[in-house]
């Protein structure tokens, strides 16, 4: 069994790990690194439950090899909160009941973060398009969309507050 030595930046930390060449990034995150937040849904790139960010872009970790993470900056759902403080996306998902079973939620959070990082003021249509690669069987999507729009506003006003505080 051949292993690959990989160094990557995961949620802001430099990490060095060994994975088998055949292990996907999803398997590597879950089984090698114990980052079980990313979920296995379809293994065909259709459901988005395995979504992570690689160098700022949302991708399906089930369609990448662990070996391909070398030198990349990876953000998983575990990287959203700061200590015990939830990211506004997580907070707004809770407030809006944007989850039921929760299996799709990590993927949605990551995809939503990738969206609002680039587009701080997305329209509803832009949110729905950006999340088209994520499937939810429980909520019917409406509350998820509302949560993302509210979170985008919270991030914007939070940023404004920080700037005001810094003066």
């Amino acid at each position: 069994m051949k292993k690959v030595l990989v160094e990557a930046n995961i949620n802001g930390e430099t990490v060095e790990f060994l994975c088998e060449a055949r292990q996907s990034l999803l398997e590597t995150l879950r089984d090698v690194l114990n980052l079980t937040g990313s979920k296995e849904g379809c293994l065909t790139g259709d459901c988005g439950a395995c979504s992570v960010m690689v160098d700022g872009r949302v991708v399906c970790s089930c369609l990448m090899l662990g070996a391909e993470a070398a030198g990349k900056n990876i953000t998983t759902v575990e990287g959203l909160a700061t200590g015990n403080q939830l990211h506004p996306l997580q907070q707004k998902f809770l407030e809006n009941a944007a989850l039921q079973c929760g299996i799709c939620t990590p993927g949605f959070l990551v995809a939503a973060k990738a969206l609002i990082d680039k587009n701080p003021n997305p329209s509803e249509e832009e949110v729905r398009y950006a999340l088209a690669g994520n499937l939810c069987r429980c909520t019917g999507y409406d509350k998820i969309v509302r949560a993302v729009i509210e979170a985008a506003k919270a991030v914007k006003s939070g940023a404004a507050e920080s700037r005001a505080g810094a003066r």
Partner: protein, 302 residues
Amino acid sequence: MHARPGGLVTLHELNYAAPNSVAEAVQILRQHGENARPLAGGTDIIIQMRAGVRHPTHLVDVKKIPELRELSFDAKSGLKLGAAAACVEVYENRDVKRHYPGLAEAAHLIGSLQIQNRAAVGGNLCNGSPAADTTPALIVLGARARIAGPNGEREVAVEDFCVSPGRTVLQPGELLVQILIPAPAPNSSDAYLRLIPRNEMDIAVVGAGVALTLDGDKVKAARVALAAVAPRPLFVAKAGEALAGKKLDDASIAAAARAAMDASTPIDDMRGTAEYRKHVVGVLTRRAIKIAAQRARNAGKA
């Protein structure tokens, strides 16, 4: 495929290499022949490996090879599109958006953002699906595939690249290096339209790509290509000929659409009947011609 406790599956035993040059990559591909496959975005090959459709023992990650990551435009020589350049890089590229908007929109239709952020346009071509979205967009631009192999380099017109579903002209040991797209002539532009059953995340029922060059209110040159209505991406020479030298009006557009419909050989499947697909070929061809023409007029003014 191997099952793990809990029923999770993992891939078969694999060797992974990430060479830094075309020569190195060709050497590995030649050494292992049918058992080696290049890895660009992975969004087709990894799914196929899990499904047991393809089973390479060696994956050659080509994303460290500079020529395959290149995306450079020159007003005289056109666009060099590295085989491993991701869809997102292509449609965010300023020169592609300006000079080849049809190619940009084709790359932006594939799958989801997750897929577009990894999938390579070169991989879309090499996967050899008759329904590939970027292939007709490349064909109508007169794109050529630059291939490297054990016997040196060769070029193949993209319309000749795909042979049958899943099969291309690539021989064991060969690697697609770049796709070369000619510089746009003045008053030229392109468009790509696709019909799918859902809003996103689906495979084309019909895809239609058009590129044309205007000369006043006449068409100087035109090319039409179709996705998902033949065993391979289909270049319809007769559709372009129906427009070339003619005034662009309802009659010439209808003639081009008719030629496209006649050339298509769609099948019945779960996404639509052959009859429906033929009808949609006509609809999308007409619309794509009009969009490309409007863009060509605007390009002329810019």
